[in-house]
């Protein structure tokens, strides 16, 4: 899940790179472009953060390719996985948002966008979009909402979620710091915006240390009722 599927053989071990006989190469429509996305929901805010590295195999294609896309004034989506599918999927979502706006004379709410994305993804159940999506935004009551998806459209509302190549490293840390899991006798204070932003920065710095596909820069989109604010923080470039 973290490294390209082609690097692993059938028995789960890394494939050895020496001559084993004639090998048939088949065109694969998928590629893995790396990247990590993270979203956190607070009382009256939501954060969506992603790194900006675009890689493939051993190379880096770009150091400035953020994975957060603004959908409406109250919703941002983070897509990581195969960049080609990310671009097409965001185009389709934006087109559907426009159609909705023109038919119903109002913007789609975060919950509605999440439900719509679920049906868009499931429509390609037999040739899926290789994208891990996380939507962050404000719900109708102004509270923060995070919706996390799997590549075929299963989704649910969460308080925090990490997706992408370093997700397995970040999620346990978030469970502990935001969810207070496995902590005894600790005072569970609600998360403030400043603390959440600082936590996200720390967490990405740690991810960049240990995951080769995460790094270069971090872009945080902060969604509050005033609108969407962006912050860019440099990360390791090696």
């Amino acid at each position: 899940m973290m490294i390209s599927a082609r690097a692993y053989g059938d028995n789960g071990k890394m494939k050895e790179h020496h001559y084993t006989g004639p090998v048939e190469h088949k065109f694969s429509p998928y590629a893995f472009n790396g990247g990590t996305v993270l979203a956190v929901a607070g009382e009256d805010f939501a954060l969506v953060a992603s790194d900006t590295r675009l890689s493939e195999g051993y190379s880096i294609h770009s150091r400035d390719s953020p994975k957060c896309y603004k959908l409406t004034d109250t919703t941002v989506i983070g897509c990581s996985g195969f960049h080609g599918d990310c671009l097409t999927l965001t185009k389709i979502i934006e087109a559907r948002l426009k159609m909705y706006k023109h038919s119903n004379n109002k913007s789609m709410t975060s919950g509605a966008i999440a439900a719509m994305l679920s049906t868009i993804l499931y429509g390609k159940r037999f040739f899926p979009y290789y994208v891990y999506n996380i939507i962050g935004g404000l719900d109708e009551e102004g509270r923060g909402a995070v919706y996390s998806f799997d590549p075929v459209g299963s989704y649910q509302r969460d308080t925090y979620k990490a997706g992408g190549s370093a997700s397995a490293m970040l999620q346990p840390l978030l469970d502990n710091q935001i969810g207070f899991k496995n902590m005894e006798n600790v005072e569970q204070l609600p998360l403030t915006l400043e603390k959440a932003v600082q936590l996200v920065k720390d967490v990405f710095i740690s991810a960049a240390e240990r995951d080769v596909y995460t790094g270069d820069a971090l872009k945080i989109c902060i969604i509050t009722k005033e609108g969407i604010r962006e912050e860019i923080v440099p990360l390791r470039k090696d």
């Binding site: 899940m1 390209s4 599927a5 694969s28 429509p29 998928y30 893995f32 559907r96 159609m99 038919s103 679920s118 049906t119 993804l121 499931y122 429509g123 390609k124 159940r125 037999f126 040739f127 899926p128 290789y130 996390s148 799997d150 590549p151 075929v152 459209g153 299963s154 989704y155 649910q156 969460d158 397995a168």
Partner: protein, 390 residues
């Protein structure tokens, strides 16, 4: 969503393209749940090399999808779970764990596997997460349409048949849905409830032994349920004989809804096409452990508390032994009045509580043993004491 379909309201560009309405045998325009040439909510897109197949005339039972060879997907979908459902005299209990795993990683520790469809039907899902979620939505839509068209709720068996038919075209593909439909059939009038209770009381008092044999038969064959329905028939005849005026009316009400009995029902539907009816159904990687606990403790005449405790215990044991099940327990109780949800319970604490209870028991046993040994010593020594006591 359902109302929009019934009104034929065209919203997006998708709906304007010509749609195919297939008439069924009643000459009635029943819109098939999905048309392959795509205008309903689910037109499935195929990978390029399969284009030629799209031009074949779509039928409800065509297996266009099974010949699709999916591209090597670089990700795994979520599987692995424990869900269970059983009926008893006071309704249906549906319970499940909340862990969604994905090939070794827990994608979500708090997923919801039991989803209500309408006020009297709840579905336990297991298999691939996305498939279950989306097919449950399709089922909800179709059941709502049925209810609007026929002014009657579809029974649990009917819902199972509907879901099975909808999944049939996908047999052979990697759609993986194993759903247990748990619900209460029939009108929820006071009389129905009363008659069911009457039937249940008599049944409990008299038919305990035959029930036990019915269960063991069922577990052997895996599908028999007719035994209990026949018993119900006999008993209703008995009660009619005893109280002709009152019960007659009651049982008539109980036997309404298209000639089906009302009462608790549990049905299993699988994307392979398997459909089972029964009294106890458990699905998933943790189901063998759950069955062991359920078979031991299940009786038709259980009280609600006993049934809830049994379900909880079964899921707890399954989560203890199965790696792919865990985290919390969700529990729903469905009666003639509808479903009620019990608070989600974290099982991590339960394990430690049980350890504490065991420790306490061991300590008590130690104390007793010491006391006994102490008494024996005392009796052995002092003849004075024995004279006194004697």
């Amino acid at each position: 969503m359902a109302l929009q379909d019934v009104c034929g309201f065209l919203e997006t560009l998708d709906d304007i393209s010509p749609c195919t309405y297939l008439p069924n045998e009643m000459g009635y325009m029943w819109r098939t749940p999905f048309e392959f040439d795509g205008d309903s909510a689910f037109h499935f897109l195929f990978p390029p090399q399969q284009c030629s197949r799209k031009n074949r005339a779509p039928t409800l039972f065509s297996s266009t999808f099974s010949s699709l060879s999916p591209h090597q997907q670089p990700f795994q979908l979520s599987h692995g779970t424990t869900t269970l459902g059983f009926i008893f005299q006071d309704g249906v209990i549906a319970a499940a764990d909340t862990r969604a795993s994905c090939k070794g990683l827990i994608c979500c520790p708090i997923s919801q596997k039991i989803m209500p469809i309408h006020s009297h039907l709840v579905v336990n899902t297991s298999g691939s997460g996305a498939d279950c979620m989306l097919w449950e939505r399709i089922l909800t839509r179709e059941m709502r349409l049925y209810q609007l068209r026929h002014r009657k709720r579809l029974s649990v068996n009917g819902a199972a048949k509907l879901l099975s038919m909808m999944l049939h075209p996908f047999k052979g593909t990697d759609v993986c849905v194993a759903a247990t439909l748990c619900g209460w059939d029939g009108e929820e009038t006071q009389e129905t409830l009363q008659s069911c209770m009457e039937i249940a009381d008599v049944k409990e008092a008299v038919e305990q032994d035959s029930n036990v044999s019915a269960i063991s038969d069922e577990s052997a064959q895996g599908s028999v349920k007719m035994a209990s329905i026949n018993e119900q028939d006999e008993i209703s005849k008995d009660t009619q004989a005893l109280n002709p005026t009152v019960s007659n009316q009651n049982t008539k009400n109980a036997l309404s809804t298209f000639g089906e009995r009302s009462g608790p029902r549990v049905c299993y539907v699988c994307s392979d096409g398997l459909q089972l009816k029964g009294e106890i159904i458990s699905v998933g990687s943790g189901s063998p452990y759950a069955y062991a606990v359920l078979d031991d403790g299940w009786r038709w005449g259980m009280t609600v508390d006993e049934a809830v405790a049994l379900a909880r215990e079964a899921v707890f044991r399954a989560t203890h032994w199965d790696a792919y099940s865990g985290n919390n327990v969700d529990l729903f109780h469905i009666t003639a009045h509808g479903w009620r949800r019990r608070d989600r319970e974290d099982l991590k604490e339960e394990y430690y509580r049980e350890r504490e209870r065991e420790k306490k028991k061991i300590k008590e046993r130690e104390k007793e043993r010491q006391k006994r040994e102490g008494d024996e010593l005392v009796e052995g020594e002092g003849d004075i004491y024995s004279v006194h006591c004697g």
